[in-house]
């Protein structure tokens, strides 16, 4: 459903610092990465390690202090300006005065796509919100809000989908259901996707590759390929190979936990 070739995401010497000159805090240390087009990459790290900042840099919502990011040949800003990407935010960021349909339709109109009621209704059905089309966000559960937010992100037919802890605010059982039901939707579209999460199982379950980040500033600590069948069936999730990769990620995380709490130099 995406147009043209799936573009690689290239990060060259990307850093990000916050704060006034002289008292800067480095959130992202110099980072070089190539994320393959059409794949799902997970950024994993402890809370507040700078992984969300890295995602915001890729989305063009933040500008790197140094270095450059390219999606194919475009800058994130260029991609953003032609509505080629979509972000699913941690807090869903649904507009409370719009219904579910209104919020999903907003994803289409913001991305300059023509009005299409049928497409919006189909997306709402796909994310499992049939019957709630006319409900406002305040009348939905946390899980349902995230479903609506994913539907909105997909409504603009993005080439690049950025997921910022999209299931971080829901309970474990809901998260498990969402992890089963929603990923096929974007996998079917073949969009390039980047997922930020602090759940090891979620990362292994959803992605083709896992980047483990060190805390403050974010620096690549481990780069782990998820060598599992793309369709993560119940058998795959119960397999030894799945558990082995989870253990590998957990170990990489633990190895770098020592530095937590010590301010960056």
């Amino acid at each position: 459903m995406t147009s043209g070739v799936q573009q690689d995401i290239t990060l060259q010497g990307v850093t990000k610092s916050f704060g006034a000159p002289g008292r800067q805090i480095e959130a992202v240390a110099p980072t070089d990465l190539v994320l393959q087009g059409g794949s799902m990459t997970a950024l994993v790290g402890p809370s507040g390690c700078g992984k969300s900042t890295l995602l915001r840099l890729i989305s063009g919502l933040e500008v790197p202090t140094r270095g450059q990011i390219r999606i194919g040949t475009e800058t994130p800003d260029q991609l953003r300006r032609r509505a080629g990407l979509a972000v699913a935010f941690q807090d869903a960021a649904l507009l409370p005065w719009r219904t579910v349909t209104g919020n999903v339709a907003l994803g289409r109109s913001l991305a300059h796509r023509p009005r299409d009621r049928a497409a919006v209704a189909e997306l709402i059905r796909l994310v499992g919100l049939s019957g709630f089309e006319r409900h406002r966000p305040a009348e939905l559960s946390g899980g349902m809000r995230q479903r609506a937010a994913i539907a909105r992100a997909l409504a603009g037919l993005p080439e690049l989908l950025l997921l910022d802890e999209p299931f971080g605010a829901v309970d474990e059982l809901t998260r498990d259901r969402l992890n089963t039901e929603l990923p096929p939707l974007w996998e079917a579209r073949g969009a390039t996707a980047v997922l930020v999460t602090h759940s090891v199982t979620e990362a292994v379950r959803l992605s083709d590759r896992i980047i483990v980040l060190t805390p403050r500033p974010a620096r690549v600590a481990a780069d782990i390929a998820v060598t599992l069948a793309r369709t993560r069936t119940a058998e795959v999730l119960a397999s030894d190979a799945f558990r082995a990769i989870c253990a590998q990620v957990s170990q990489a995380l633990r190895l770098h936990q020592a530095s937590e709490g010590i301010p960056a130099q």
Partner: protein
Amino acid sequence: MTPRKRAATSRLGAICTAISRLPRGTGTLIFLMIWEVLARISASSFVIAAPSQILDYSLTHAGLLWRAFITTLWAAARGFFWGNLAGILLALVATLLPRSERLVSTLALLVFCLPLVATGPILRVLFGPGDGPQVTLAALAVYYTTFLPVLVGLRAAPQGWFDLIRSYGRGRLIILRDVRLPAALPYAVAGFQIAAPAAFLGAMVGEFTGAERGLGVLTVRALRALDLPATWSIALLAAGVSICTFSAVGALGRRLDLAPPEVLLAAPVGNPSSRWTGAAQAFLALTVTLSVWHVAMQAYDLPRFFAKRPWDVWRFLTSDPAARAQLFAALSETLSLALPGYLAGLALGAALAMLLTLMPRLSATAIPFAIALRSIPIIASAPLIVWALGRGATGTITVVAVMIFFPTLVACRQGLARTPRAVLDIFAVYASSPIRRLFGAQLPAMLPAFFASARMAIPAAILAVTTAEWLATGRGIGALMATVASTSDYNMLWSAIALIGFAAVMSHALVSMLERWVLSRTNPEQLAR
């Protein structure tokens, strides 16, 4: 709470419940009978008109009242429209050009503080006959109370909503259309709700200054003739209009299914980064005010005889010691009455709000009353209060206090209701007394709302004190302005306006400083923005 107090409280509550359980209409009937008796007893003191007299006057003069009412309503409606439009546009400017916010806010406050008593006659000279002054004063009475909440509403959206729009590469206009404007709508409706009665009040004041028709004209006539039934009939009519429009806008808001806004009035903008930025801002505001004043007069080529320029006021104040002394004496007399009234209104409003949280059953009865009384126009109530309490200090102070009391009560109630659930639970876990809970948890939550209403109360106090002096007591700067307006002493009039505007802005700055000082200790999260 001692057992005896507790028993007294529950007895009071029981009385309230008993009253509320009587068949509909019985309470009203008893109320009317007591009123009638009181009026008959006190007939010699010329304060209370009996319901029968009011009914008699209203019926015999129904045609007159109706025509006057329609005239005033039409002027109020147009003022309501233009004033709210101006308030919304100012808020949009302050939001879209964040650097201009402080200047826009200061100028908006300054114009709002100009006393209707003085702007009325000047507008009358400017417009000549017709209803120009009524419409303008109605607009002036409403734009500020719409400007403030809309400004808060336009900025209240969480960062995530802006990020959402930006992640699609869309800019400020789309953010305005899809996020800021819809987010500000409930705030605007809350502003309109306060504006509706205020517009009617403004139109009536406009009619005091030489209009041909309208409820304001009838009021002046009734006051001059000490016609008690007429005064009360008009006061009740104005109060009825106010309550109806207030409720109608509220009902409209509910119909639109808008969530009521959380905080109505803006917390002050964070501390200026240094002492000098604050001073520079103040200097800029002063310069802009004086330039706008001067340039507007020049641009419309208004005759110097009545359209005084800043320079004329300065020369008058520095060259005529007798006039200066008279002016300052009047101003200090006015302020000496406004200040106690202001403080009493704030203290009583906050105290009753706190008391009502200790007695929840009482509040169910008291709050609808307070909301209804809040919208009774000051020009209807001020003469009656002064007649009842005398022309001395007590009457004027009471008028000011009453004007401030009800909005403060309502705002503080809202503040108290915003105490975080989790904090209340902690006090409940330790079975703390209601008093302990009030001072430990609820009072700090109330402070932002209290200070917001303390800032809003400054223009209200000025309006109340000058109106009372003008209509009833004949003393102070309110009466001085009315006198010099009728004798065409425009130097004195403009000087009085300038001094009152200056005093209002200074008081506002003082309250804001106090607010920052207190909130930075009790509610630092309110200031971090």
